[in-house]
């Protein structure tokens, strides 16, 4: 199961960055926000907003897309 990484705890956790788009990492993750509150996602992969436009921050909601 993607959410059972216990036997790989010694491996570094890979994070994928892109010039345009969210930061991708394997879940589950806990994110501590500026105000000290903690939010969690147990999805197999998590997309973290980097453009700061998401209305569901810190999760990506595709608000980084170009508009035309």
């Amino acid at each position: 199961m993607p959410n059972s990484p216990s036997d790989r705890s010694a491996e570094p956790r890979r994070v994928t960055v892109q010039r345009k788009g969210p930061l991708l990492m394997e879940g589950p993750v806990e994110v501590e926000l500026e105000d000290g509150s903690v939010v969690t996602s147990d999805r197999f992969r998590v997309a973290l907003c980097t453009c700061r436009r998401s209305r569901r921050y810190p999760w990506c909601d595709t608000s980084h897309r170009d508009r035309a």
Partner: protein, 337 residues
């Protein structure tokens, strides 16, 4: 014959093709003649319902119909004739981008002044619009992600791993209460709709049947695996912004918490799925089988084509203050907010 409780009733026929297929399934008549298949309106409700009936035998079947009909050679011959009409029409009618990158690039631009169904529902949708929309979409959402499972044995490496991971998420990540089809049933309950599988097949428009038949067509043919992947990518890429608007529509109309949650979940889930499908599934497939690129582009374009037709029909009916359904909904009786 003993029936599984999960098997829906056969719908009302909508012409000689769907009527002929139903008679055959009941053991009460002959299949339609191939000349009649050749003459019928390809996107019309009769041909599309006949095809839908053939495909549904691979999902849950129908009450009173032997499950052995799934692999009945005579029925498969009729299905092939229906599919030939459908696929030929799509190949000539859908716009085809020159490359997958161009097709994806167009999907990844969000229109500033969008005029689609989700914009309409967000800005002026009333509960009766939302109920009609959910009834029509229930044909897919009550088997959400199922047609795409057929592609798994036909992929390998990165494409298979990515596809399986997204499907696992669609099916609730191992938790029955989070299966997306279950979340949609909860939305239907909020809207006072009957969550029985197949309940709204009679109500669905020809345009709605086309959208589901496209996925079954792509899913059931290994030769069309590129199209299936293109289809899945289109759904995942366009879902997140559209779901945000639909979640707003549900909030504004007070549809209920489960109705909001279905679309809120899709905003977040599909922002992730989109990334996995583009980078891992499409990227992995085309790395392994680069000759499938035109099929992936066709899958994207055919999906856009059938979704646009469905949206145009809904908006034309609603702007004329007409129901978009082919059979009326029952009166809402179960809504408790």
């Amino acid at each position: 014959m003993e029936h599984d409780r999960g098997e829906p009733a056969l719908p009302a026929p909508r012409g000689p093709l769907s009527g002929g297929v139903e008679d055959y399934l009941r053991g009460a008549g002959r299949l339609p003649r191939l000349e009649d298949v050749a003459r019928a309106a390809v996107y019309g409700e009769d041909l599309q319902l006949a095809l839908y009936l053939c495909y549904e035998l691979h999902y849950r079947g129908f009450a009173g119909v032997s499950p052995d009909h799934e692999w009945d050679p005579e029925l498969l011959r009729t299905r092939a004739a229906l599919e030939h009409r459908f696929l030929s029409a799509l190949r000539s009618d859908a716009r085809v981008h020159d490359s997958v990158d161009e097709a994806l690039a167009d999907l990844l631009v969000e229109p500033v002044d969008g005029t689609g169904v989700s914009h309409f529902l967000r800005d002026e949708g009333e509960l009766w619009h939302l109920r009609e929309y959910a009834a029509q979409r229930s044909l897919y959402h009550l088997k959400e992600a199922d047609p795409h499972a057929w592609v798994l044995p036909r992929l390998w490496g990165r494409a298979k791993a990515g596809m399986a991971a997204v499907e696992f998420d669609e099916w609730g990540g191992g938790r029955a209460e989070r299966v997306h089809a279950r979340l949609f049933a909860d939305l239907m309950t909020d809207l006072g709709l009957d969550t029985t599988y197949g309940r709204y097949l009679d109500a669905a428009s020809a345009e709605a049947l086309v959208t589901v038949n496209l996925m079954s067509l792509f899913g059931l043919h290994r030769a069309l695996r590129g199209g299936l992947v293109g289809h899945f990518a289109t759904v995942e890429i366009t879902s997140s912004p559209g779901s945000r608007r639909l979640a707003e529509a549900m909030r504004r109309t007070g549809a209920g918490r489960a109705a909001e949650h279905f679309y809120d979940e899709h905003v977040e889930a599909d922002a992730v799925h989109e990334q996995v499908v583009r980078h891992e599934v499409i990227g992995g497939l085309l790395e392994a089988e680069p000759h499938l690129a035109p099929d992936v582009a066709f899958g994207i374009d055919a999906t856009g084509f059938v979704e646009d037709r469905f949206g145009a029909r809904l908006l034309a009916d609603w702007r004329a203050s007409r129901s978009s359904l082919c059979a009326p909904l029952e009166r809402e009786t179960t809504h408790i907010s």
